[in-house]
């Protein structure tokens, strides 16, 4: 219980800091939402009038206080550029980004764990080396480039999918999931490579331990030793790594959404930043921060459950 209270207080403080920073960032960067809305034809008087109407002429602290008050009561404000409630705008986008994040995460886990164990089993064999080399390549290529590569390869050469042919989940769920396969893979590949490398070295570390020799001498086969004994211990540090990875996956999905033309949270965030659509940006940033903080808390909790020696 104490642990949970501690975590929640930390979470709230972190969220406050994130939202303040997001507010401040817009104070510092040039560009005025009112002028952006009105464009080049606008006169000074018109811009001033709109600023007044939008409440931008009030001091920063007042605006922030009001935003926090509204946010807590569930009101995220109205988007400047779409004139619809931010909540409504984001609600349509969340399923897209969440699906993509979950799919990427599944790819990471499903690719890295079996391959990692396989590489440990075949340590220094041909197979191990091929995967290590492939790992190096994948880790050094940024996801957006992998994305472009996959698009060209599967879209224009093999014609397995239509580049930019995003299908909305409201229209056709299977088509939607199908379209998200490649972008999720593009995000997952470099991360899976890292996870696999980490699992491999962590398990190899364990292999040198005394308990492994004991387990072997008891007549356990090599696969059983690997999966039952070594994997359990070797996987612990990887869990932390996977937790941190969630943040990375979300960050990468922002870029990948641009490449694949997916109208998710990331693309909404980027276009809202350039349009100085503060209410949307604030809400998206805080949402992402919540997701990341909560996952980290869950990872901590999980970690403690798995390894009783750890005190948090």
């Amino acid at each position: 219980m104490k642990f949970i209270i501690k975590k929640i207080t930390g979470l709230i403080i972190a969220l406050l800091i994130v939202s303040i920073l997001a507010f401040l960032a817009f104070e510092i960067i040039p560009g005025d939402p009112a002028r952006t809305i009105l464009g080049t034809e606008a006169t000074e008087a018109k811009v001033e009038a709109l600023r007044d109407e939008m409440g931008l002429n009030r001091p920063l602290t007042v605006r922030y206080g009001e935003w926090v008050k509204n946010f807590v009561s569930g009101d995220m404000g109205t988007s400047y550029s779409y004139q619809i409630p931010v909540k409504e705008l984001i609600a349509d986008k969340i399923p897209i980004t969440v699906t993509m994040t979950v799919m990427s995460f599944l790819f990471i886990v499903l690719l890295s764990i079996p391959l990692g164990v396989l590489c440990v089993y075949y340590e220094n064999h041909m197979l191990d080396r091929i995967f290590l080399a492939l790992n190096q390549v994948l880790m050094s290529v940024p996801p957006f480039f992998i994305g472009m590569l996959l698009t060209v390869l599967f879209g224009l050469v093999f014609h397995f999918f239509t580049p930019g042919g995003y299908i909305s989940y409201t229209e056709n769920l299977a088509g939607f999931l199908g379209y998200l396969l490649l972008p999720s893979l593009a995000i997952a590949l470099p991360k899976a490579a890292m996870t696999m490398k980490m699992l491999r070295s962590s398990m190899l570390d364990q292999l040198g331990q005394d308990y492994v020799r004991t387990a072997k001498s008891r007549g356990n086969g090599p696969w059983r030793v690997l999966f039952v004994h070594v994997f359990k211990n070797g996987f612990l540090p990887v869990i932390t790594f996977l937790g941190v990875m969630i943040a990375d996956v979300i960050a990468n999905s922002i870029v990948i959404e641009q490449v694949f033309g997916i109208p998710g949270l990331g693309r909404t965030l980027i276009s809202s930043i350039s349009k100085r659509d503060y209410p949307v940006v604030e809400a998206v940033i805080v949402l992402i921060a919540i997701v990341i903080l909560v996952t980290n808390a869950v990872v901590d909790l999980l970690y403690r459950k798995l390894d009783k020696r750890i005190e948090i």
């Binding site: 960067i29 040039p30 560009g31 005025d32 002028r35 952006t36 809305i37 009105l38 464009g39 080049t40 034809e41 606008a42 006169t43 000074e44 008087a45 018109k46 811009v47 001033e48 009038a49 709109l50 109407e53 550029s81 779409y82 004139q83 619809i84 705008l89 349509d92 986008k93 080396r129 091929i130 290590l132 080399a133 492939l134 190096q136 390549v137 472009m148 590569l149 698009t151 060209v152 390869l153 879209g155 224009l156 050469v157 239509t162 580049p163 930019g164 042919g165 995003y166 909305s168 641009q258 490449v259 033309g261 109208p263 693309r267 909404t268 980027i270 276009s271 350039s274 349009k275 100085r276």
Partner: protein
């Protein structure tokens, strides 16, 4: 062991490069094979997906400002009159109009049988409401600043409406393209209703906007049943998306992008209807010296810029008027300054800068043609000792610092016209004009402009406008470059694309071919 690792890496590299070559090889093969000949016959119906680079800034036609939004909304809304592809104003919601001798009273007769998309007939009340909404000054300034000269909008009878102006204005018809909307209708932002050839169907932010054919359109009905404008946010994916078939059409391609689309597409070439120039802050040292500005004009060669950035595509301009506005465009200024480095250096010496000076060019980083142009200019100016630094900034920052704040030395940008009048291009250079971001000040210019806008005789007025263009060229207000080429890729499944002398994408003329 180590060596084997390297060998594997090598193999991988080869595999990867083969895969990559596979894609580019494909391109080379098709380059020679296709001729963009259309053999099919037009068919009615079908749908098209058009890629656009940005989401629309507003669906309210009176509030939308981005050119990319207006060109889409053109399909949904109409004014009393609307522009046609030749740059004329043709009757739309109005069937005829009359302008009084003194150019102070405009009388419009409404067309019979024009219906809004919600099925209601357009009435004189709707027209009055729409114009009054744009002329409303309760927020300080009207939506359309030119409407500040409207004295009153009067409904004469069911079908006739009269607009009285406080001062004579022969070009006011160009402003009557303002969209007519249903009286008191409040949901324009989410459910637009107009009278145009297409009806708003749906919109998903950051994804698309879908229009359907207006079956009860008063004029020539559209050929296509459905048009989807799809947002392609990543410029690098445009060609891939076109080739992959997720979009059928895309406007404003670079010449490099167009060159890649050899198979299955035809490229329509037009102009963007803007004046691209190195705009000079006439108040900033040393650009406040006319000779310095002229020296820059002599040093910059628009033909060289076009050759470098767009394979020579584009149309040279020599003053603040683009060729699309045929009536007003004066060709004689196009080659007013021919590149001559010696003459430029001499002018700089006369102005007191024999060793040149430092010049900062601010440019919106997202506009690749302008960034490229700035780079060519920087090289050209080196020849006369002018040392250029290019400062790329975000468009929003450009609006605030350069355009509104006028805090810049020079900038490369394209300036367009909001309607088909010469005034739309030339008014901004009047000394105290709000849009005069280059701080151009010339008494003679102000005088002639005043005379021009109050001249009722059309021919004389055009002469005066041309005189103004001459002043801008002679005084080297800016280093004028070109009207950029507008390359439009259209899938071979479609034809009928038309260019307009304004920011317009008319989807009603496009049809599918068999």
């Amino acid at each position: 062991m180590k060596r084997r690792g390297t060998a594997i890496l090598l193999v991988l590299t080869v595999v990867l490069s083969v895969a990559l070559n596979g894609c580019s090889g494909d391109k080379n093969q098709t380059a020679s094979a296709t001729e963009n000949e259309l053999s099919g016959k037009p068919v009615e119906g079908g749908s098209i997906r058009v890629g656009i680079s940005q989401d629309l800034d507003s669906l309210d036609p009176h509030k939308a400002v981005a050119a990319g939004t207006k060109e889409v909304l053109f399909n949904i809304y109409e004014g009393l009159v609307k522009p046609d592809k030749d740059g004329n104003l043709v009757e739309a919601v109005a069937s005829s109009y009359e302008i009084s001798e003194d150019a102070k009273v405009y009388t419009f007769t409404l067309r019979d049988g024009v219906q809004f998309h919600n099925g209601k007939d357009v009435t004189a009340e709707d027209v009055k409401y729409s114009i009054d909404r744009c002329a409303d000054t309760s927020d300080g300034e009207p939506f359309v600043s030119a409407y500040s000269i409207i004295e009153s909008v009067n409904i004469l009878d069911e079908k006739t409406i009269e607009i009285r102006l406080t001062e004579p204005n022969t070009e006011f018809l160009a402003y009557m393209t303002t969209a007519i909307i249903p009286e008191g209708y409040e949901e324009l932002e989410t459910a637009p209703v107009g009278t145009g050839p297409f009806v708003f169907e749906s919109r998903s932010p950051q994804e698309n906007i879908v229009l359907k054919k207006n079956e009860s359109y008063w004029g020539e009905k559209a050929h296509l049943d459905e048009v989807e404008f799809k947002i392609v946010a990543d410029a690098d994916m445009v060609v891939t998306n076109l080739k992959g078939g997720s979009i059928d059409m895309y406007m404003r391609l670079t010449s490099a992008q167009a060159a890649e689309l050899t198979k299955g597409f035809h490229i329509e070439e037009g102009t963007m209807n803007l004046v691209q120039a190195l705009y000079l802050n006439n108040d900033a040292e040393p650009l406040n010296n006319e000779k310095v500005r002229q020296a820059l004009c002599y040093a910059v060669n628009p033909d060289e810029i076009m050759a470098m950035i767009a394979d020579g595509k584009g149309v040279r301009v020599g003053t603040s008027m683009y060729p699309g506005l045929k009536k007003y465009f004066d060709e004689s200024y196009t080659n007013y300054y021919e590149q001559d480095y010696e003459k430029a250096k001499e002018l700089l010496k006369e102005a007191g800068y024999p060793d040149g000076f430092d010049l900062e060019i601010t440019v919106s980083s997202a506009d690749q043609p302008h960034v490229d142009t700035a780079q060519v200019i920087a090289e050209e100016l080196k020849n006369i000792g002018v040392n250029v630094t290019i400062k790329p900034i975000e468009w929003e920052a450009w609006l605030e610092d350069v355009y509104a704040g006028r805090n810049f030395q020079s900038t490369v940008v394209g300036v367009d016209a909001s309607n088909l009048s010469a005034r739309a291009m030339l008014e901004r250079f009047v000394s105290d004009a709000e849009g005069n971001f280059i701080n151009f000040k010339d008494e003679k210019y102000d005088e002639i402009f005043k005379e021009a806008i109050s001249t009722v005789d059309e021919e004389k007025q055009t002469e005066l406008y041309k005189e103004l263009e001459g002043i801008l060229a002679e005084k080297a207000a800016n280093v004028y470059i070109q009207d950029l080429a507008n390359l439009v890729a259209v899938s071979d499944k479609y034809d009928g694309y038309e260019f307009y002398p304004l920011y317009v994408q008319d989807m009603s003329t496009i049809y599918m071919v068999e």
